[in-house]
């Protein structure tokens, strides 16, 4: 789960990671109130969960009240990569002497938490990583949750020649790591990590991504989810235990398992059709999930046919069949259903459906071909 910069700054404050003074505003008046505390100049930054806001004009340093009002309204009316700007961060503008990069994330292949740091921070960090990998420090935690300072010391020395900055950076990294582990992050990033006019190190931006799988441990973080970034159907699907991604086509797909759902989407597209969605009903399915999935799909008026492709493992085919039968009784399904059921309790499922007058396919290719034909 991505959270906004202003929310990440609140987490930073809780962990005593220095940021410049500021707060989030929704109106120019609120912004003005914040400047009473910070003074001018301030930087105002659109709070959107997509990258590239600076290049889209969503970040501006302003020197007085008139400029603040003007720029605030301008940014408020921006649409950044399809997302409107609802909230704007107003923070004291830092007179940046030098930009660094500091982040904590997970290296999946090594199955270890890794600190990434560079003396070449800023928006071009990904390019630096490509062209000058030697300028990127990667420090593996080796399974530890706290910093091994003696192992880290040479890295700090490589980044900063000044011993007091080495000490300060080490202290900030310790806090960033504490936040990372305690809040189950998959990313905690400071870019740029800057030296300000007084020679102090400070986070000039804050980016935090929380592991969705760990949200059950963090009810306090669940409240930070900005649902305006998610498709309403996708949110509803998630609440109902379905994994759903809307696409452009007209063949609705209900599949069990992410791999087979992806394979089904590929097969529909490669055989001349266009998948309308990716939908994984998950394992341990109960009949209600099928009903929910059908209801979500049927809201999409582009859909001309619904392909149900189930390979029973932990999902039992008769559960799915019962779900289909319940759905047929409870809701109006104006498009043809193409049903393929194979695997656990397949025989019971086919009996249920045949008794109700429905035909089923055994092969995936057969079902996909039929669905593509029906979509034309």
């Amino acid at each position: 789960m991505k959270i906004h910069e202003y929310q990440a700054r609140i987490l930073f404050a809780q962990y005593d990671i220095p940021t410049s003074q500021g707060d989030v505003a929704q109106t120019p008046d609120e912004a003005l109130l914040i400047t009473r505390q910070t003074g001018f100049p301030v930087v105002i930054k659109a709070q959107v969960l997509v990258g590239g806001r600076g290049k889209a004009g969503g970040v501006k340093v302003v020197g007085d009240e008139a400029q603040l009002k003007f720029e605030f309204n301008r940014i408020k009316n921006l649409n950044i990569k399809g997302y409107p700007v609802d909230r704007i961060l107003v923070a004291r503008a830092i007179d940046i002497k030098k930009e660094y990069y500091l982040a904590v994330t997970i290296d999946n292949i090594k199955a270890d938490v890794v600190v990434i740091a560079s003396a070449e921070g800023g928006v071009e960090i990904e390019e630096v990583a490509q062209t000058h990998p030697d300028k990127i420090i990667k420090f593996y935690m080796q399974g530890a949750k706290t910093l091994d300072e003696s192992r880290w010391a040479p890295m700090a020395a490589q980044l900063f020649s000044d011993p007091s900055l080495q000490k300060s950076a080490t202290s900030i990294l310790q806090k960033l790591l504490k936040l990372f582990f305690e809040k189950d992050c998959s990313l905690a990033e400071i870019n740029p990590f800057v030296i300000d006019e007084k020679g102090n190190l400070m986070a000039a931006d804050a980016k935090v991504i929380i592991d969705d799988n760990a949200l059950f441990r963090h009810p306090e973080l669940m409240a930070l989810r900005d649902v305006s970034y998610e498709d309403a159907d996708e949110i509803e699907a998630k609440e109902k235990g379905l994994s759903f991604v809307k696409l452009e086509g007209n063949v609705g797909c209900i599949v069990n398992g992410a791999g087979l759902a992806m394979g089904t989407m590929d097969e529909v597209n490669l055989l001349g059709g266009k998948a309308a969605n990716f939908l994984d009903v998950g394992g341990s399915s109960n009949p209600q999930k099928v009903l929910n999935a059908l209801m979500i799909l049927l809201r999409n008026k582009d859909i001309k046919v619904i392909l149900i492709n189930i390979f029973g493992g932990i999902t039992r085919c008769d559960d799915i069949a019962n779900g289909i039968l319940t759905a047929l009784k409870q809701i109006d399904i104006p498009v043809p259903l193409v049903i393929r059921l194979t695997g656990t309790n397949e025989k019971e499922a086919k009996e249920l459906l045949t008794t109700a007058g429905l035909t089923t396919f055994t092969s995936m290719r057969g079902a996909v071909n039929e669905a593509v034909r029906a979509s034309k």
Binding site: R217, A258, G259, M262
Partner: protein, 285 residues
């Protein structure tokens, strides 16, 4: 022969009193797997389908001398279940549970270092040596014993592949579902090595997907060490970039983890990559 599990594997089921645990314990038993016990804290002394239930892995191991454990417990308890197996030195652990926090898996991988314990999963269908034993959730009847080894990151897509093999009279030595999470225990290269060494595995089928870097590592390994024919299918060729397709690991994050990039790297390593799962039987004959 087969790899990892056979008719002599004695398995315990963690979470045996739950809906999935009890259902699949019975399915495994019916398949012929030696299910020697179950574990649910606080429910020791009961019996489920004639299988004795124990309060802990330690108790179960002492009573049954099991050499494998399969985990069906909810995500929030899965880390402790795995740690219990590691502490009791169960040589093979299969974790079916999905939705485990990534940092829990970092801890598990650390606990596994310097042990000889093999972990399959999490978020996986398990593994089966047809005709000998199945440990997991795959439907047993679609399999047939034979000489093709199957390795996959997916669950149901693996069944699809196996179903097509069996329909074409091509049996399997062992089918291993690695799991779809970003951090997993056993990876493609580990299983490739076992299949390469297994005298009764003639050819290998690999089922991969978008995201992550495991297929690339597998390609590297195949080029250097695998002399048996390898056929691969990669799912997610038409997935939109950056969208999450259910598996946390299947996010296209860099150019290299797209399906097309993986297909190219595998082809360069001499692997036959097919477009549809039902083309695998022809390619492996």
């Amino acid at each position: 022969m087969s790899i990892l599990v056979d008719q002599n594997t004695k398995v315990i089921v963690q979470g045996i009193t739950g809906r999935d645990g009890s259902f699949h314990a019975k399915q495994m038993l019916d398949y012929g797997t030696k299910v020697v016990g179950g574990v649910t804290p606080g429910k020791g002394g009961q019996e489920i389908n004639g299988i004795p239930v124990f309060n802990s892995v330690k108790e179960a191991k002492e009573a049954t001398d099991c050499n494998a454990a399969v985990i069906y417990v909810p995500a929030k308890f899965a880390k402790d279940a795995m740690l219990e197996d590691i502490a009791n030195n169960i040589p093979l652990v299969i974790c079916i549970t999905e939705g485990i926090p990534v940092l829990d898996m970092v801890e598990i991988k650390k606990a596994l270092r310097n042990t000889s314990i093999g972990l399959i999963g999490p978020n996986c269908p398990g593994l089966i040596s047809p005709g000998k034993a199945k440990i997991g959730i795959m439907p047993g009847h679609i399999h047939k014993s034979g000489d093709v080894g199957v390795i996959s990151r997916s669950g149901t897509l693996t069944y699809e592949v196996v179903f097509n093999l069996t329909a074409n009279n091509i049996g399997q030595s062992t089918c291993v579902g690695l799991g779809g999470d970003p951090i997993i225990g056993t990876r493609f290269v580990d299983v490739l090595k076992l299949f390469q060494e297994d005298p009764e595995t003639r050819a290998i089928v690999m089922v991969g997907e978008i995201g992550g870097g495991d297929e690339q590592l597998a390609a590297e390994y195949i080029k250097r060490f695998v002399t048996k024919p390898v056929v691969a299918f990669i799912a997610g060729r038409t997935a939109p970039a950056g969208k999450r397709m259910g598996h946390a690991g299947a996010i296209i994050s860099s150019g290299d983890s797209t399906a097309e990039a993986k297909i190219q790297i595998l082809r360069d390593a001499g692997v036959t990559v097919v477009d549809f799962p039902d083309e695998i039987p022809q390619a492996i004959k």
